[in-house]
Symmetry: C2
Subunit: 473 residues, 2 copies
């Protein structure tokens, strides 16, 4: 019976081919536990020895183990090593594998889910305005022309692009016209399309920030485009180094609120990015994932306003409403529209017309503005509570970054990040350290937590915050 480590380990090399290493390892282990191939109680090799065995970095394995402990697949106890957890249900419904964006399950204690979740990346899903959304759906669907239900324009529905153009100009300072907007099924879809366009244009390099999501890097990397990291200092991303990178054809920036380090791109560095793009004929991809959420002042307008012919603006409803809608949008330089449409195909194969029409009505009726205002108040209150609790319970921990978005950075004493994340995992609190977002070529210089304070529903927030305070040094 192949339910011990030895036989499974031999197959693991093969299974990891072609997948992101950490994700691949996690998926393989989850599947092995799920299927019974690794029985409950089986002891796994140490992260050091498995890493050596697989020829990957030790952190990759340690990280995967810690995640799977947090998710309930494995257990780890000092002295007894890492073991397959005992589970009541041998084949539970699969949990999303990508933990940086996993659902914000609150104070649940079912097997396979952490009791508390403060990972960044997900808004408070309990606040999704179901009744308002359904009201908009009714109005939109009853008013739609018949042809709306057919194969659609790859740009997306004109009703949505029209209201988006108005909204983005008003709320984010974007120079937006409906014919420059292309609806997509999330930022990831937009980035995928841009990767195809850049590759077709012969771009070989896209600069990225020192910290970001490996999902995005993997996506671009699959097109064969290299991704050097821009240097990073106390004031943030050093876009003035773009010319020195040489052959770079594009740069991906989270200008309004760097993810995950939490700063805003400084005015001189906004200008430097645009200057570079003009001089070098480069493109800026602006990932404006949470630009609506600023708590201490009006949000800084989008970088795109500075030069709409050099900046591709990417916005999303995933943080302001819900990721499950799969609604996002690109505002394109005029000369890119046809190339993006060529990449997307002659009709819209992806985005649901019912959601597009509903969102158009939701946006046009003012319901979206009301929802964003309400969530701004709620998230601001949570951030204030987080800052106060940390100050009271852990004077050695500093909250950094601007008062914005859905996450805060908690700077820890040197050398403590991994142990805090691991301690949290063992106590059923899902947390992520900043170093898991570090570009592979960037040296480790800081220890911090990236706390997604928007993730839990209201009912679970104060317990999650208490759990966090318990593990802070």
């Amino acid at each position: 019976m192949a339910n011990d480590w030895a036989t499974f380990g031999a197959d693991l090399h093969l299974e990891l081919r072609g997948q992101g290493l950490r994700n691949g390892l996690m998926n393989a282990l989850r599947e092995a536990v799920r299927s019974g191939r690794l029985a409950a109680g089986v002891r796994l090799p140490s992260s050091r020895s498995l890493a050596a065995d697989l020829g990957v970095a030790r952190n990759t394995v340690a990280d995967a183990y810690a995640e799977l402990v947090a998710e309930g697949w494995l257990t780890a106890r000092q002295g007894s090593g890492t073991r397959v957890a005992r589970r009541s249900d041998p084949r539970p419904p699969a949990a999303p594998g990508r933990t940086t964006t996993a659902t914000g399950a609150g104070a649940r204690t079912t097997a396979g889910r952490p009791a508390h979740n403060l990972r960044p990346g997900t808004p408070d899903l309990a606040s999704f305005p179901r009744a308002e959304w359904l009201k908009a759906a009714r109005k939109a669907l009853m008013a739609a022309p018949h042809e709306a239900f057919g194969y659609g324009d790859p740009r997306g529905r004109i009703e949505l692009r029209t209201v988006l153009a108005e909204y983005l100009a008003r709320a984010r300072g974007v120079y937006a016209r409906p014919e420059r907007i292309v609806v997509c099924s999330g930022f990831v879809h937009g980035l995928e399309l841009m990767g195809q366009v850049l590759r077709a244009r012969g771009v070989r390099e896209m600069a990225v920030e020192s910290y970001g999501l490996d999902l995005h890097w993997d996506l671009i990397g699959r097109t064969g485009i290299r991704m050097p990291a821009l240097p990073f200092d106390a004031r943030g991303t050093r876009t003035e180094e773009l010319p020195a990178l040489g052959g770079t054809g594009a740069v991906l920036l989270t200008a309004a609120h760097q993810f995950p380090t939490g700063g805003a791109l400084q005015p001189d560095r906004r200008a430097a990015a645009v200057d570079w793009a003009r001089a070098a004929g480069g493109l800026i991809l602006e990932d404006d994932y949470d630009g609506e959420f600023r708590y201490d002042r009006q949000p800084v307008g989008a970088l795109q306003g500075l030069d709409p012919e050099r900046v591709v603006y990417l916005g999303t409803a995933s943080k302001s409403l819900a990721p499950g809608l799969r609604l996002a949008w690109m505002v394109l330089p005029e000369d890119l529209v046809d190339e993006v449409l060529t990449a997307k195909g002659a009709v819209d194969w992806v985005s649901s017309v019912t959601d597009q029409l509903t969102f158009a009505e939701f946006l046009g009726s003012g319901a979206y503005d009301r929802h964003v205002r309400a969530m701004r108040l709620r998230y601001r209150r949570r951030r204030d509570q987080l800052v106060a609790a940390v100050a009271a319970r852990s004077p050695g921990t500093r909250v950094s970054g601007i008062a914005a978005g859905l996450h805060a950075v908690l700077e820890l004493p040197e050398g403590t990040e991994d142990s805090v994340v691991r301690a949290a995992a063992y106590q059923g609190l899902a947390l992520q350290g900043i170093n898991r977002f570090r570009h592979p070529t960037v040296p480790r210089t800081t220890d911090a937590l990236v706390v997604g304070y928007a993730t839990p529903p209201d009912s679970a927030w104060s317990n999650a915050l208490s759990a966090l305070c318990r593990v802070l040094p």
Copy 2:
């Protein structure tokens, strides 16, 4: 001013690189007219001379011209050649470029749309059950757990996969379990995922039918997989030739209702396909696009039921409900599930959760069955009217294919197909001949029309049918 042919024609070579030839030509011409680059009244070169100039088949150009005439971009009059049409609006909203799946606009006469549309590929969009859909949406969204609005399982929502498994077993004889189902955003998305999986498995060849959609062939072709056509005879696709093809690792079949020729795969040939798959370790991709619509008997069950470990079943709501929903599903052999999920990514980046939940409720409540029954009656009546009208008006034309689906094949006297399609286009009736669906390696042996009798709304149907009868020989 570059609004004559000479300067535009010089650029056309470049613009056509990397696009499907006919679609590329059509897009380039549309864009040139839309932007004013080709002014109204400009005379285009003959299809013969442009084809020679571009180094493409003359049919490609003639086909593109006829389509654009039907869409209203160009005009064609005997003696005066093909010219850019005079249009009131210089920048109308772009029409979907892919005419085989263009929206079923009915008796509209606005510029850019044919007055009548009998192209296949779209159901009657006016029959989309909006009120029932909204009722299901309300019930589903109010009952959903919070986590449903987050980043989701790449398989799709469990609520949907559960009711789909029950429905597919009952209605289509599919061996379906929820954990083998993967929701996707249409057949095209499913085929794209399968292309990635097959390529990763090292498959170099996938056999296709002699007639089909070049969109599908292009999609698979982009992965580097070659697509030999299976021979076709009076009884349909000769699957018994699969072993003779040698290295083929997969075959794509429209078993229940061949698109577009309209027959059902014969029992001995269903068996031959499965025998081949077992003996050669091959995979069958079953495109069950309209399997619910059979008018003379109970629909034949899906091929997948014969060997669920060798057949990938692909179903869709695009024909039974509406393409705009972007809802489809694959039922996979057990050993393919992980590979498809690897191709799809660790979370669902594509399919809207609101539509998935709504469709689950719609299906589970019986509303889907009621809708399919109602549409079956409506389409059957239309098909009967088509058969009767053709018999009365054009005794030389024979309606072939089984009484099923959304299209019928009208067999024409030899050598008349192109002129009938062109004559129809000139009269504002959008029609497609069977030879536009012919695999490039298959010789032309027949003249026929592929008439999409489901496309017009009820209010436009009888006029469309009269227009059709006027152009039949």
